[in-house]
């Protein structure tokens, strides 16, 4: 093998780059495509329909998503005269980047040579990065200069106040239990089936609901609630930019799912990473992705069962029920730590 090719391969599998592009963007994108297909198919099954079909009857309409993507790509991107153009275009792009950026802080292996960026506070950094992107939803809503967009953006702003604390507290209960902010240590502490989600279901439940709130999944699909505010902050968007908006929301949910898989569901455990690229990096990351995908499937299933809460009810539930639940989960974690389980 010539040295140039091996250099290129080295660059490609250089952990930070690999992590961001492959594990942060491409693989989640593939998962998201699957999940959107799955969501449509699930809803169709529950609703006694067939769902996507005619594009590719042999594989149950699997190519429908590709067709949709093509449609978004070749649709005219309309920029209304009244919008503030720069933020209007930039907001979805930045939101997309910020949605996948937390992946850089998440290790998918315990093999230190494949850490994207080795650090001791990776959980904190991941959480900090993950909570940045909603601001750009508000920016998009404001820049659109449209009543529905503005209302949608403001709803997102309200919801931030509801879910941010829940997400923080419920995820940090892992630190309380294991005594570390390092995701690697948190995962390793869960070895042997001692998954935090099993021992501390309160925190897991709070985290799941927090994720639903933050990624506007049912029953909290409030900012984009179609029947009051058309498409919320994305009302004025069209074509590929709209597609980016929608993709960013799913990618964000995927990143959250990965984080839950790491923190609560034992990460790459039961697999023990070995040396080398395949056994030290590829297989553990696939294990994590499978867990995250199952979570995504559960989130998608809820669409078929629930309607949406009202904005004030969502805030009410978040503050009155879920936040105490998260705090209780934190307390339970402290108890677990006290009992010396971790």
């Amino acid at each position: 093998m010539s040295p140039i090719i091996s250099d290129i391969i080295k660059i490609i599998i250089w952990p930070p780059l690999w992590q961001l592009i492959v594990l942060g963007l491409l693989l989640p994108l593939g998962v998201v495509v699957f999940i959107i297909w799955f969501e449509r198919k699930t809803a169709a099954r529950v609703q006694r329909r067939i769902g996507p079909y005619h594009v590719s009857p042999r594989i149950a309409g699997g190519l429908q998503l590709v067709a949709d993507l093509m449609r978004y790509m070749f649709q005219e991107i309309i920029i209304p005269k009244t919008v503030d153009v720069a933020p209007f275009i930039m907001a979805p792009l930045i939101a997309l980047i910020l949605s996948i950026l937390p992946v850089v802080a998440m290790p998918f292996t315990s093999n230190a040579s494949y850490f994207p960026i080795g650090m001791r506070y990776s959980l904190i950094v991941a959480l900090a990065l993950i909570t940045l992107s909603p601001i750009f939803v508000i920016v998009a809503g404001w820049a659109s200069n449209n009543k529905f967009s503005l209302i949608g953006g403001m709803r997102e702003a309200y919801l931030i106040t509801a879910y941010e604390l829940i997400v923080m507290v419920s995820f940090l209960s892992a630190s309380a239990a294991t005594g570390s902010f390092d995701l690697v240590k948190i995962v390793e502490a869960q070895a042997g089936g001692k998954w935090l989600g099993l021992l501390n279901p309160l925190a897991l439940l709070a985290a799941l609901i927090g994720v639903l709130l933050s990624t506007s999944g049912f029953p909290f699909e409030i900012p984009e609630s179609e029947h009051e505010v058309v498409a919320g902050a994305y009302t004025e968007y069209s074509g590929l930019v709209y597609g980016i908006n929608m993709g960013a929301a799913y990618l964000k949910r995927m990143v959250y799912s990965i984080l839950i898989a790491l923190v609560f569901l034992g990460g790459w455990r039961p697999y023990t990473p070995g040396p080398g690229f395949v056994s030290g990096y590829l297989i553990p990351s696939i294990v994590v992705f499978i867990k995250a995908t199952i979570l995504m499937m559960i989130f998608s299933f809820l669409r078929a069962v629930y309607g949406r809460y009202r904005l004030d009810q969502a805030l009410d539930i978040a503050w009155k029920y879920i936040f105490p639940l998260a705090v209780a989960g934190f307390g339970l974690s402290l108890a677990l730590a006290y009992l010396g389980i971790y």
């Binding site: 005269k81 029953p219 609630s225 009051e228 309607g307 809460y309």
Partner: protein, 413 residues
């Protein structure tokens, strides 16, 4: 219109034909829900919001106005039946029946007993289908996509039955002056009984996924409360009225056809909120199923007999009678198209799925109506937007809209 009007152009200087402009209060935000809005149907609701609270709401109807009152004045009496059923095509029999009855009243005739039962049969099938349609729209307004698909799928059962009976899925044009146009086909009542049992089963599923769903309960309880007095004052009608505790149903208060011979009860709820209206509709579906069972029993016991009034059937040629005996299809006499109706006025009402529809029919003795005034259930309920919606949050608007089962084509006529 391009761009934004800047400078000191006064509000009253903006004169756009067909448009009004007016000042609204300070700190108010005016949002136009409709008519191209996904949550509005063919109407517009202008809401003015202060924060998240609606302070003023104004229904702006008429986007699907088809000038039915005027059109009916220019054509023969019988031609108005297919016209009127386009008010609410999934409730076609209920909507046209009072008109047919009003004209029968002017003619001084009454349909034969079997025709009356058949009318009730289709009315109740239509009623259930229309309730299910309403549930579907309601579900999608609350973001509950399963509750959108399920009732629409189950409505197909009733549409299928109606098609079997009348030959058309929605625009049945079934009752005509003096009777109905088809007799029940063979095997119809068996399928009807199956459909009744199926629907009872499905209502349990609806209860689990929608009616008792905590998310839906939270959205609907204490939302859009119409107090009893206000309901009467506004002239609200149908299930919405009964959910507010008023004991009024045309089928009971002014029985028509054979409703006074059938055993059923009208549920009444006291709460008057959106959630009570959901329960009201579920209960009414159950009552309609009960009526249908009795009608099916009656039809099984009684053999085929003319379903057209003597006045039109006595003179029918043998071919007509043969066709009726063989296929159940009633041939209309040529006189139907040119029939003159005696001078007079008649007022007739009927209970559609959404409430009371009333026809004021005036004839000058000619072959065309002199004046027909239709006031439909949804048009009565439109006042809810103006008087009930203010004070609610923006997200309550679809909940109220769905819960009163407003149907713009019916309201606009």
């Amino acid at each position: 219109m391009s761009g934004i009007v800047r400078g000191n152009v006064g509000f009253n200087d903006l004169k756009i034909p067909g448009m009004w402009s007016r000042k609204i209060g300070k700190d108010l935000y005016e949002v136009f829900i409709g008519p191209q809005h996904p949550g509005s149907g063919h109407m517009r609701i202008i809401i003015r919001i202060d924060g998240d609270i609606i302070v003023e709401a104004e229904p702006d109807m008429g986007y699907v106005h088809r000038t039915m009152e005027k059109l009916s004045e220019g054509r023969a009496w019988i031609k108005a039946i297919p016209l009127f059923e386009r008010m609410a095509i999934h409730d076609a029999c209920n909507v046209t029946l009072p008109y047919v009855r009003a004209v029968e009243k002017l003619l001084g005739i009454e349909a034969p007993l079997r025709a009356k039962y058949l009318r009730v049969l289709l009315c109740e099938i239509n009623r259930i289908a229309a309730f299910l349609y309403g549930f579907g729209i309601f579900g999608v307004f609350l973001g509950h996509s399963t509750m959108y698909m399920w009732p629409f799928g189950d409505r197909e059962v009733w549409v299928e039955l109606a098609e079997w009976l009348t030959g058309a899925r929605l625009t049945h044009t079934y009752p005509v002056f003096g009777g109905v146009r088809r007799d029940v086909p063979e095997g119809f009542t068996d399928s009807l009984r199956k459909a009744i049992r199926y629907m009872r089963r499905r209502l349990e599923d609806y209860r689990k996924i929608f009616v008792d769903n905590p998310v839906i309960r939270a959205r609907l309880e204490d939302v859009g409360v119409i107090p009893r007095n206000l309901a009467i004052e506004l002239g609200i009608t149908g299930p919405n009225l009964r959910a507010s505790g008023v004991r009024y149903d045309v089928r009971k208060n002014h029985p028509y056809e054979v409703y006074d011979e059938l055993d059923f009860e009208i549920p009444v709820f006291q709460e008057g909120d959106a959630y009570a209206r959901v329960h009201q509709r579920v209960q009414e579906i159950l009552q309609s199923l009960r009526i249908l069972e009795q009608v099916a029993d009656w039809l099984d016991k009684h053999p085929r007999e003319p379903v057209m009034h003597e006045r039109f059937w006595k003179t029918a040629p043998p071919l007509y009678k043969k066709i009726f005996q063989e296929t159940g299809r009633v041939k209309l006499g040529a006189v139907m198209a040119i029939m003159k109706i005696p001078q007079g006025k008649a007022y007739e009402r009927g209970e559609t799925a959404r409430g009371e529809i009333s026809y004021y029919v005036e004839s000058d003795g000619g072959n065309k109506p002199y004046r027909i005034r239709i006031h439909s259930a949804s048009a009565r309920n439109a006042l809810v937007y103006k008087y009930i919606v203010p004070g609610h949050r923006v997200m309550d608007l679809p909940a109220i809209y769905g819960s009163i089962d407003y149907f713009p084509p019916e309201a606009d006529r």
